[in-house]
């Protein structure tokens, strides 16, 4: 179960087992504790890390106070975390003007003080 309505349970410590990979058809499913493969319904799944560098496919800024506890403005992106798996994710930038389509991303913790709960993504070049 989600531990908080604000921040999902996924943290950087979950990155090695973020996705499920289907032994039957090879499809990736998020999250890795999904009940079965989203393509074929098989429950023979292996927990695997992201098989690729995540890529930013789209992004917007949330301006309204639409999620309790999430203080706008917040940048939300669609990040491809595996072939065919594009998930909405919080993007750790102050301003969407720093982002470009199809840029490589990296997963980071919710904030510097808390890497155990919540994943956000930031442009890969921001590393270090």
């Amino acid at each position: 179960m989600t531990t908080s309505s604000l921040m999902p349970a996924w943290g950087v410590d979950h990155l090695p087992t973020l996705l499920a990979h289907c032994r039957q058809c090879g499809t990736y499913t998020f999250p890795s504790n999904a009940w079965s493969c989203r393509a074929c319904g098989a429950d023979t799944l292996d927990k695997v890390p992201m098989p690729q560098t995540p890529v930013l496919r789209n992004f917007i800024t949330l301006h309204g106070d639409v999620v309790p506890g999430l203080t706008p403005p917040v940048v939300v992106g669609e990040v491809e975390i595996a072939p065919g798996v594009v998930e909405e994710a919080l993007i750790a930038v102050d301003d969407e003007s720093r982002l470009t389509l199809d840029m490589p991303m990296e997963a980071i913790g919710a904030d510097p003080a808390d890497t155990q709960r919540g994943l956000r993504f930031r442009p890969l070049e921001a590393q270090g």
Binding site: V76, E88, L90
Partner: protein
């Protein structure tokens, strides 16, 4: 269902509404009874003549139907509550049509009624966590879709805002609408931003209300002396749900395309034969992409067609002449039934002030969270 409606004609013989409105203390029973009594009067029927009722609601609670309907008289009719998110009313209408088309009943009520505030979504109880707290938030999903559409079509934000200008304008002419004020392009664009390029006037409001539709078989119409010319025929009914995405087409858009195509095939017509469409414009972008998916507009041409007035009342195909979800409102349970009421009113030529001339073929298309799609095609009866 695919041949049932061709084999046994189902007609909409009565329509009634309680205006959509902002949340109030009014009990849902009053909202629902107002719409049902208006539909009975409109059809010229008495309550004991109704053999079954399907009650579309998402937020009132368990067993809302009989609690409300007993005030019309405890006739012993079949009562079924239907919850299918935003498509609850459309699903109630579909079941009412099936009940008549199957031959089980001859006169059936579909009523949508809802209040805000008590709905709980199952998506938060599936035992799985998302990456983002916005993942089940429609406004974020559709703001992302809008951004993609504008970027791919090299369009500016005015393209989206024109949907709201048209639909607020239509709603201003609809006495059952929640919003009754026309809005200018400048006003729509200047209203507070919610997500991405979507401003608050491009998003449907929260609200409550009721809509009722009575359907009957041709045999019952003849026996009861109901006027054929006032009673459009339902010539297609389709229900689908989302498949996995393929390529760059968002799964929800694919779902709209496939469900509407199936409905058009069942009706034996093409999208260009439609004079009117009522569809799920909870957010402005939806009207543009669904209009294209249904085939009212060519792919990539939705915003241009809108700007040219092709989808306005009096245009080639009026989209959301009622004001749509943005202007008329989206009380959830009633919304899909209200679409059928609007189409019926238009086919009768009784949509005073917002009449789309010559409406003979129309589609009602609704989406429910999840996502599911329900499509109906109605044909004017001579």
């Amino acid at each position: 269902m695919s041949r049932l409606l061709q084999e046994r004609a189902v007609h909409v013989v009565g329509i009634g509404m309680h205006p959509y409105q902002f949340p109030s203390e009014t009990p849902y029973v009053h909202l629902g009874l107002t719409a049902i009594r208006e539909a009975l009067k409109d059809a010229g029927l008495q309550w004991p003549q109704v053999q079954a009722a399907f009650v579309g609601t998402a937020a009132i609670g368990m067993a809302a139907g009989r609690v409300m309907l007993r005030h019309l008289g405890s006739t012993g009719l079949s009562v079924t509550q239907v919850e299918n998110a935003s498509a609850s009313g459309s699903s109630a209408f579909r079941l009412a049509c099936q009940a008549v088309a199957s031959g089980e009943h001859e006169v059936v009520l579909a009523v949508g009624v809802d209040k805000t505030g008590h709905a709980r979504r199952a998506s938060g109880s599936d035992g799985l966590s998302t990456l983002s707290p916005t993942s089940n938030l429609p406004v974020a999903k559709f703001a992302l879709l809008a951004r993609r559409y504008l970027r791919d079509g090299e369009l500016d934000v005015e393209a989206l805002a024109r949907v709201a200008v048209k639909n607020h304008g239509n709603a201003a002419l609809n006495p059952y609408a929640q919003f009754r004020k026309p809005r200018t392009l400048e006003q729509v664009l200047a209203s507070p931003k919610v997500a991405g390029d979507l401003t608050v006037q491009q998003c449907c409001p929260r609200g409550e209300g009721a809509a009722a539709v009575i359907v009957a078989s041709a045999a019952a119409m003849a026996r009861l002396g109901l006027a054929r010319a006032r009673s459009p025929r339902v010539i297609a009914s389709v229900s689908t749900s989302e498949k996995l995405g393929r390529g760059d087409v968002p799964p929800i858009v694919d779902m709209v395309r496939e469900s509407s195509l199936a409905a058009l095939e069942q009706a034996g017509i093409g999208a260009r034969d439609l004079d009117m469409v009522e569809l799920h414009d909870a957010f402005s972008i939806e009207e543009i992409v669904y209009g294209e998916a249904i085939g009212v507009c060519q792919t990539g041409e939705g915003a241009h067609d809108l700007a040219r007035g092709d989808t306005a009342i009096g245009g080639r195909c009026a989209v959301n002449a009622s004001g749509g979800l943005i202007g008329m409102g989206h009380p959830i349970g009633p919304t899909g039934v209200g679409q059928i009421a609007e189409i019926t009113r238009q086919m009768r030529g009784e949509a005073t002030g917002r009449q789309h001339p010559g409406t003979r073929l129309a589609m009602a298309h609704m989406i429910g969270l999840g996502s599911v799609a329900i499509a109906h095609v109605l044909q004017k009866t001579d």
